[in-house]
């Protein structure tokens, strides 16, 4: 995943995050990272590294430094508000058994 702090040395190829679509109909999922000087070579490296066993039908690559991530330190305030909102789930509502198709 995105690398912080940035420790890339002057001559090192930048890091890219690789996303693979396993088959048509599914979304791309994060598979790992590769180093490459540009997007085209990042795609080639991603193909050689992450799809050697037919793991994918499509690849996305994105510069790791372009990933904006939420801060684990504020995971509480970010995600806890959803915990108390059980009414966002269908099981919150009681419907008698004799009511069908709902």
């Amino acid at each position: 995943m995105a690398n912080e702090p940035n420790t890339q040395t002057a001559n090192e190829w930048p890091l890219w995050e690789v996303f693979i679509r396993a088959k048509h109909g599914l979304s791309h999922r994060h598979a790992g990272s590769v180093h490459a000087p540009d997007g085209e070579i990042a795609l080639r490296h991603a193909r050689d590294t992450y799809t050697r066993r037919m793991e994918g039908v499509s690849i996305w690559v994105i510069r790791s430094s372009d990933v904006v991530a939420s801060d684990p330190g504020s995971a509480g305030p970010t995600f806890e508000p959803a915990e108390s909102k059980v009414y966002r789930h269908p099981t919150f509502y009681v419907v008698p058994d004799y009511i069908k198709h709902i």
């Binding site: 995105a2 040395t9 190829w13 790992g32 990272s33 000087p37 540009d38 050697r52 066993r53």
Partner: protein, 333 residues
């Protein structure tokens, strides 16, 4: 491929500057089998232990390509050649997954590679032994990758998320490595007397180095207790070694080969094989780079790195040129 902790210096306890409540919260998470992710707070000693272990593991994968690469051009059939190529390519990929995992801890791949080249970083001692015959390719897959799998399976639940995820991928790919090695050995063992002798000779030479791969015995492995507590390691060196011996001995017997250990015998009471004393002086000598082909291995890595430098630089220069051209076009456009 695989690594073990080869540093004799125990990891230092929490630095005094680290806030006790952060340390306590971290210890609790780890004890609760939660995964630690790159941006989470972690003790400096945990980070350092991981960087050392993961980079060592990555180097082992990469150096591990050399003894096998040695036989690609001499594989006895097209099938064997295709398989060996695929295996060696996998090892390169495994190195890459592991370098990526280590990079999330705030080190760069170039720094790790430099540490390998200057001898500061270690790699698995097993690769400092030469591959003398084709049977060695069988023995490496069967024994060395077999030992690696034994070690890596529990690492899929190691406490550091990126390392655990890399291990899941590696384990998935590694099982073919062991099976193809066993198949080579099995075929040779069922062949002419000369072929069988070749298989036995390879087993004789690779057996002890393979069981040494699990690292020093628990009572002489200063980092084990801390690593187990941090869930970096899930089983001790001796536990894993015993498992490996227990599953491998019957495999050797099944194909008519003899494990080169006169003290090896089944212990009914323990439900395990007892095995003979391991020559740890040899192990430490090989760790220090005194293995038969240690210098050759590191030299091959350095040569590959230096000869590839122009390619890396040219690709970067090309990317920079393309980027500035696009910028100009956008400005004019």
């Amino acid at each position: 491929m695989y690594t073990t902790e080869m540093s004799k210096n125990p990891a230092r306890p929490a630095a005094p500057s680290e806030a006790p409540e952060l340390v306590a919260a971290f210890e609790a998470r780890v004890a609760n089998d939660e995964f630690i992710e790159p941006k989470d707070w972690m003790p400096e000693a945990y980070r350092k232990t991981l960087v050392r272990q993961i980079s060592q593991h990555a180097h082992s994968e990469v150096v591990g390509m050399l003894p096998e690469g040695n036989w690609i051009s001499r594989a006895p059939s097209l099938r064997r050649k295709a398989v060996l190529l695929a295996k060696v390519q996998d090892e390169g990929g495994h190195g890459l997954y592991l370098y990526s995992a280590a990079e999330t801890l705030g080190t760069s791949r170039d720094q790790m590679i430099e540490a390998l080249h200057t001898g500061k970083a270690k790699y698995s001692t097993i690769f400092n032994y030469p591959t003398l015959t084709w049977a060695d390719i069988g023995a490496i897959g069967w024994l060395v990758d077999g030992a690696a799998i034994m070690n890596q399976v529990p690492l899929q639940r190691t406490s550091y998320g990126p390392y655990a995820r890399a291990m899941v991928r590696v384990c998935k790919e590694e099982s073919f490595h062991q099976r193809q090695g066993f198949e080579i050995t099995m075929k040779l063992a069922a062949g002419t007397p000369e072929q069988k002798a070749m298989a036995q000779d390879a087993l004789n030479r690779w057996w002890w180095p393979s069981i040494m791969m699990f690292g020093p015995p628990d009572d002489n492995s200063p980092n084990t207790a801390q690593s187990v507590r941090w869930r970096i390691k899930r089983e001790t060196n001796d536990e894993l070694r015993q498992k490996f011996v227990d599953v491998t001995v019957p495999q050797a017997e099944a194909i008519g080969l003899t494990v080169p250990d006169p003290d090896l015998k089944w212990n009914e009471e323990r439900g395990h094989y007892d095995y003979g004393a391991i020559d740890w002086d040899e192990f430490w000598a090989v760790v220090k780079g005194e293995g038969p082909v240690a210098k050759e291995r590191v030299k091959a890595r350095i040569d590959a790195w230096e000869k590839g430098a122009w390619v890396r630089e040219a690709a970067l220069a090309h990317a920079a040129k393309q980027a500035s051209r696009r910028q100009k076009e956008a400005a004019n456009g």
